[in-house]
Amino acid sequence: MGCRLVPGKCPLAVLSVIPYSDGTFNQSVTVIAFCPNTTEVHIYKFFTDKWEKLHVLAKHDQIVSGIDWSRSSNKIVTVSHDRNSYVWTQEGQDWVPTLVILKLNRAALCVHWSPKENKFAVGSGAKSVSICYYEQENNWWISKVIRKKHESSVTSVAWHPNNIHLATTSTDGKCRVFSTIIKGVDTRGPQAGASVDWKFGEQIAQLDLSPTWAFGVRWSPSGKTLAYAGHSSMIYFVDDVEGSPAAQNLALRDLPLRDILFVSEKMAIGVGFDCNPLIFAADETGLWSFVRYLDERKVTPSTSKASQLSEALGKLYGQSRQGSSSDTVEPSKPRGGAHENCITCIVPLRKGSESIVKRFSTSGLDGKIVVWDLENHITIPK
């Protein structure tokens, strides 16, 4: 299923952005960038069968909380808890940073390049989203901040394919869609959307479906469907957000998700505290449902989770259960899978310009980055 890299012993808090297939050697070379829970970003290359460390980008003062690598313009943007952001461009063998002033007074939490790679959005703990764009005359990146509407930290941002709509999720449980039209950067083309002209920072829609924190918002490849995860073990699929939103709330059987990836228009992968990617698929009518876990696991330990829970609860209430033997109720951790701890991030690996994602990588709090290959395992409905 995949190659693994265990770079350090510490949990990898935020990781990877991993695109890249270098055609020059006629082989697919995977290059990844991640933060090993420090203030640096490491870039590794997977060549034949081993990983080589290529570069270390060290400029931030605190943990790097978000990384995104733009494929066509080959820039890396990093944001950190130190409230700063750097855009790294490759000059020769080195990566040169350019500071972007985000005007934040709290940590930056997540970052994503827009589809045209002329803007990037940064979500922060200051209840705001900074949209940054490049100003040619002064040769620097300027940020415009969306300060209103969010009531708490912005955990995740996602760009609609039209390069203008931005979806955000927040720890206030709501998912919002904003317009990020910037004069001089965005041309109002026919695909710019509805007849209404949205101003920068105007809220197009607010989805209040989750009673708890929301994470991992993503648009489907065409932009018709929006998906995000709620911390109450729910995943929400919303169609036609700008027009008349229609939501499907899927209750998950197990633990909550932290991040989502749309593999195609009709299939999505969710990752989270189950330590195992979940596959969701939509049928012809557009009804989403859970298909299965991606990773086949060995049989779970002898006593089921449910009876362990009951034993523990019983002990709390001073009850003695008949028949149960052990005094040592071990916390049952999932065994034998690729990840041993919560998966926090899922990133696609695209070859060229294919619309269906066949390979992706996940990274988690166990310090592992796992590359998954869907090619031989499941058929992906378009």
Binding site: Q203, A306, A312, L316
Partner: protein, 206 residues
């Protein structure tokens, strides 16, 4: 801008009626029926839409609370009948349906709890109960189980623990998470100490 909320509020709150929730399914009997409509509540509704009254205040007008309490009393009578006919599972379903989850009024919630408790304690065959209980009841049953566990009363806790084990097997950990995380649809009046208590139970259990 448009807004979409998860609760089954009267249709004038959501811009597009019927755009919320699962598609193509009949409205669940577990959803609270919307508040009764008369001149006074229409006035309150107008205030709510204008943003001058909070949704909690709207739901908790005296009219609505009286209506809720009388509904719970009706349920209680129906449950006694069902229990006399030895139909404890039907009784439990009746008790769980139309529970006042959104209101913030302690009386209503306690009154419904008493009714659910009565039905729950009457169940002897727990496996059998799950064979005829639909999955849409799982989340709300789990919430009431935790309310039962919080009473500390020995027979109640025994029964709740037995049901809890089977329910967790069937519904998974997600069900437990939803009962802990949902501060909008509650069976307690949300109280910080209770939330901390539940979290303590969860921590010890895992």
């Amino acid at each position: 801008g448009k807004s979409l909320t998860a609760c089954s509020e009267p249709s004038s709150l959501a811009p597009q009626p019927g755009s919320v929730g699962d598609r193509g399914r009949r409205p669940s009997p577990l959803c609270e029926p919307p508040p009764r409509s008369n001149q006074k509540t229409q006035h309150c509704l107008a205030l709510l839409v204008a943003g001058e009254m909070s949704s909690a205040a709207y739901l908790d007008t005296d009219e609505n609370l009286e209506a809720l309490i009388s509904r719970i009393e009706q349920k209680s009578r129906k449950i006694e009948t069902l229990l006399k006919q030895s139909k404890p599972v039907e009784a439990l379903k009746t008790a769980l349906e139309g529970s006042p989850l959104k209101t913030r009024d302690e009386r209503c919630k306690s009154a419904n709890w008493i009714v659910v408790h009565r039905a729950m304690m009457a169940i002897r065959d727990i496996d059998g109960m799950f064979n005829s209980l639909d999955t849409e009841y799982y989340d709300i049953l789990m919430k009431y189980l935790y309310r039962g566990l919080s009473t500390g009363d020995r027979p109640t806790c025994d029964q709740c623990l037995k049901i809890h084990e089977k329910l967790t097997e069937r519904a998974g950990l997600g069900c437990i998470l939803r009962s802990l995380a949902d501060t909008v649809n509650t069976v307690f009046v949300v109280d910080k100490s209770i939330v901390a208590y539940l979290q303590l139970v969860w921590l010890v259990a895992s």
